[in-house]
Symmetry: C2
Subunit: 227 residues, 2 copies
């Protein structure tokens, strides 16, 4: 090539979800510098080519800095690019979406002042930097879709969990009730869960605890849950 290209600004941002009290929450940080100073934004930043083996590592590192732990689930969402999304010029952002258990981050997060969990359905009231609102909506849609044909939402739960907990998380994500029975069938059929030794009290009959089989990959079901 004979022409010289100006390399656009490349950043990695993450939409980290969790479910708290039946509500889907997203982690946001308060911007300290321009542009959009004082607005809420997705946690992210630049690749550190010395330290990060790839962009996944960048996303993971940035999230760990805010939450104190690596996300349980991390997946590329999409690249968003254009001349107008950042006032400083043409920008390219790789967006990730990620999941953690509320119970796992809960002790850590309060220590960080500039980061906060905000309910996804309350975002209208929030000032969001750049096009981060749209990115969050895209991430939510992807998560909803995946929830219909996979067990991805388990990553919003701690290592041991009950069917009722998983049901709550799924319902928070897709915003529809599902059948307990259907969920149990899928847990059984997926073959990626183990029945734990323990049961825990639940207000009625003791609830069986489940764990993900170590090293098991998520399975995609051939049918979706109905909307």
């Amino acid at each position: 090539m004979s022409t010289e290209y100006t390399n656009p600004l490349f950043t990695v941002d993450s939409v980290l979800f969790t479910v708290k009290n039946g509500q889907l929450m997203v982690l946001l940080v308060k911007r300290a510098q321009a542009p959009f100073t004082g607005d809420w934004a997705l946690p992210g930043g630049f690749i550190d080519v010395q330290q990060d083996k790839n962009t996944d590592a960048t996303a993971s590192r940035k999230l760990e800095a805010k939450t104190g732990l690596k996300p349980a689930y991390l997946e590329q969402l999409q690249v968003i690019s254009g001349p107008d999304r950042d006032p400083r010029g043409f920008s390219v952002t790789l967006a990730y979406f990620a999941l953690v258990a509320w119970q796992d981050v809960s002790p850590q997060i309060s220590s960080v002042e500039s980061a906060s969990w905000i309910a996804v359905n309350d975002l209208k009231k929030t000032n969001l930097a750049f096009d981060h609102l749209q990115i969050i909506q895209m991430a939510k849609q992807r998560l909803q879709q995946k929830t219909l044909y996979s067990m991805t939402p388990v990553f919003c739960l701690p290592g041991q969990f009950t069917i009722a907990q998983l049901k709550t998380v799924i319902e928070a994500i897709i915003e529809k009730p599902i059948q307990r029975k259907s969920l149990m069938r899928r847990i059984e059929a997926s073959g990626i869960f183990e029945i734990s030794e323990e049961k825990i009290p639940s207000g009625g009959r003791m609830a069986q605890l489940y764990t993900l089989k170590p090293g098991a990959d998520l399975v995609n079901f051939e049918r979706n849950l109905s909307l």
Copy 2:
């Protein structure tokens, strides 16, 4: 931020598929310069921030330069990044996957010397630059998956097509036979196709031609075709 980051090389590459004679083909170009001079590679290049409104435009522009037309279908595949995939240093590549009708590009492609269609199942015999073989395999898997729950493969066909043609394309992609009946049911159920006025001879009874309804979006089915 106080630290200065070295901006890694950012490129956009596309895996453009078509189906010819029941075989899934991918468009490759011969590299003229180092590294990997003389090897086959995915068509791609750098964003032109003056000209491209986003990375989709970059991918589309590069493909048009090779094939003479914009791809009928274009979707982001994934970002691949790392310090070792390009000998010149840390690199970030946004891979797209795209579809065109063989019938549409056929007249154009022969005029371009440096580009060529190669059967995806023959790639072992081909010297491929960088990690482009893995990227093609990823694209193929994604296309196969989408074929199970959507009508994406229509974009490998011209504006008017028969059910038999669509069946051939689908079978080339997933490498399994499917039932004619199932395909017809899905065409009907999707609601995105129109019965054309015309029929064309086929060696037996005349075949009904179908077209995509103008402006219709692809639908996702709730069940997959079985593997």
